[in-house]
């Protein structure tokens, strides 16, 4: 196993990744690729799940060390569920993001994981929060993270419009993921997309061969 991790800064399995979330009119679209890597050359899983449900209408995308991310989301699920029982009502998306931020900030020396938290709650509707490596928490309308995100900043800045329809937003997210997976070697596999609205949650999986193709493919 050691031969697979050559000069990786992340120990063990890493989700060198592309994750994103975007708010549209009435909900959020959350998406990720599905590749997990060890070192720069070995794909340890083609079908890893990076969009994790932490509560009924709140999802989390993970980036960084897979072990750290799974441990943090487990703790977050527990805290959120406990908080929800105490408050006798579903937690706010801000609460989920804060739980993750707390865990990331308190243990920032040892952990190597970043998250995008997105969902829908009754008070503020659809929201997207990003929790970066050191524990920074920021609310944005659209956000991207992971190693593949560097290749699509231009696309996001140019193509995102507030108050898109669900179909427009899904197409936007699929295109963004396809572009990033096309350029980043540690992102790939299938595109996992989740649409969260007041009514419920919808999963869309776009297999690699059905992803949109661009001029040079």
């Amino acid at each position: 196993m050691e031969k697979h991790c050559t000069e990786s800064r992340v120990k063990g399995v890493s989700t060198g990744t592309t994750i994103l979330a975007a708010v549209f009119d009435g909900g959020v679209v959350i998406g990720s690729d599905s590749r997990a890597s060890m070192g720069e050359e070995y794909v340890s899983s083609k079908t890893i799940n990076k969009v994790i449900q932490v509560h009924d209408r709140i999802f989390c995308c993970i980036a960084g060390s897979l072990a750290d991310a799974q441990a943090i989301t487990k703790a977050a699920k527990f805290h959120l569920s406990f908080h929800s029982v105490q408050m006798e009502s579903p937690p706010r998306v801000m609460a989920a993001a804060s739980v993750l931020k707390d865990l990331c900030y308190k243990n920032r020396e040892e952990l190597q994981a970043g998250f995008i938290t997105a969902g829908w709650d009754k008070k503020n509707g659809p929201q997207v929060y990003v929790v970066a490596l050191g524990g920074m928490l920021i609310n944005q309308l659209v956000t991207i993270a992971g190693s593949g995100s560097t290749y699509i900043y231009g696309y996001i800045d140019a193509k995102y419009k507030p108050n898109m329809t669900k179909e427009e937003c899904l197409q936007f997210a699929t295109n963004a993921l396809a572009l990033a997976m096309g350029r980043d070697n540690v992102s790939g596999g299938v595109a996992h997309l989740v649409v969260v609205t007041e009514k419920g949650v919808e999963h869309v999986v776009v297999p690699g061969d059905k992803l949109p193709k661009f001029h040079d493919e």
Partner: protein, 257 residues
């Protein structure tokens, strides 16, 4: 490895013993009625084969078994600990353990040690929710998969699995696929070798077939190496009685009322 760093001081610069690793090929496949796990049987210590008939498929609970790659002591003890804890849980709750619970316990434990425990495990089992196969890495990452191989021979075995796996295989093709995968690992990796063990877990029963296939390169010992008592002749005999001094004597009456 940090635990052995403490040992180095004791040897005054001489050769410290190397940890026994199971440079290994292990594989697992989910088939129609359950899970098939397979492993080779070679354990190496540096360049020497320390154990030719090592058992790498460990018992966790009547319906869950675990293959281990990495440091032999770590996989052995981790799986033993998991097995005991699951048995206690099962007795306390009155429920049969689920594979996902075993995976969660392992993940929590390995994550706490931040990769210091060198255990790469494949957990497979059948419970009331279905047939499951999980991989747990030494840093505590978990992945649920339909087929899988781990160890130093994993790439060779993975080629066979990627080519031959189909969902809902029957029992015999599934066993043959795992056997071929381990065989590929044995043939193409120096750290794997000797025999192939197979464990078939279904809802009704568990078949632990050890060995499923023996190595064709077994050595046949020409003579026995056991010697009868009295075979060594001796020239002289000297008997020295051991003198003992009674320093303190205390008598305690035993109550048998």
């Amino acid at each position: 490895m940090k635990p052995n760093a403490a040992l180095e001081g004791l040897f005054n610069g001489g050769n410290t013993p190397k940890a026994m690793k199971t440079g290994t090929t292990i594989a697992g496949v989910v088939f129609k009625d359950g899970v098939v796990l397979g492993a080779d049987t070679r354990a190496t210590s540096g360049e020497v084969v320390a154990d030719k008939m090592c058992a790498k498929i460990h018992y966790i609970s009547p319906n869950i078994y675990c293959c281990g790659a990495g440091t032999a002591a770590d996989t052995e003890k981790t799986t033993d600990l998991l097995s005991s804890n699951l048995a206690i849980y099962s007795l306390n709750s009155g429920r049969n353990p689920r594979v996902v619970m075993a995976v969660n316990i392992l993940q929590d434990m390995l994550y706490r040690y931040h990769g210091q425990i060198g255990a790469n495990l494949i957990l497979g089992g059948v419970d009331c929710t279905g047939n499951h196969l999980y991989t747990v890495g030494p840093y505590g990452s978990v992945n649920k998969v339909p087929y899988l191989s781990m160890g130093s021979g994993d790439l060779a075995a993975l080629g066979i699995l990627e080519d031959g796996f189909k969902p809902d295989l029957e029992l015999e093709p599934a066993k043959e696929l795992v056997r071929a995968a381990i065989k590929a690992g044995i043939m193409n990796d120096l750290g794997s070798g000797n025999n192939i063990d197979i464990c078939v877990i279904t809802k009704q029963r568990v078949d632990y077939i050890r060995p499923y296939q023996e190595s064709q390169y077994k050595d046949n010992r020409k003579i026995k190496y056991k010697y009868r008592p009295g075979m060594t002749p001796f020239l002289t005999e000297k008997v020295v009685p051991l003198k003992l001094e009674v320093v303190q004597e205390s008598v305690q009456k035993m109550e048998t009322a």
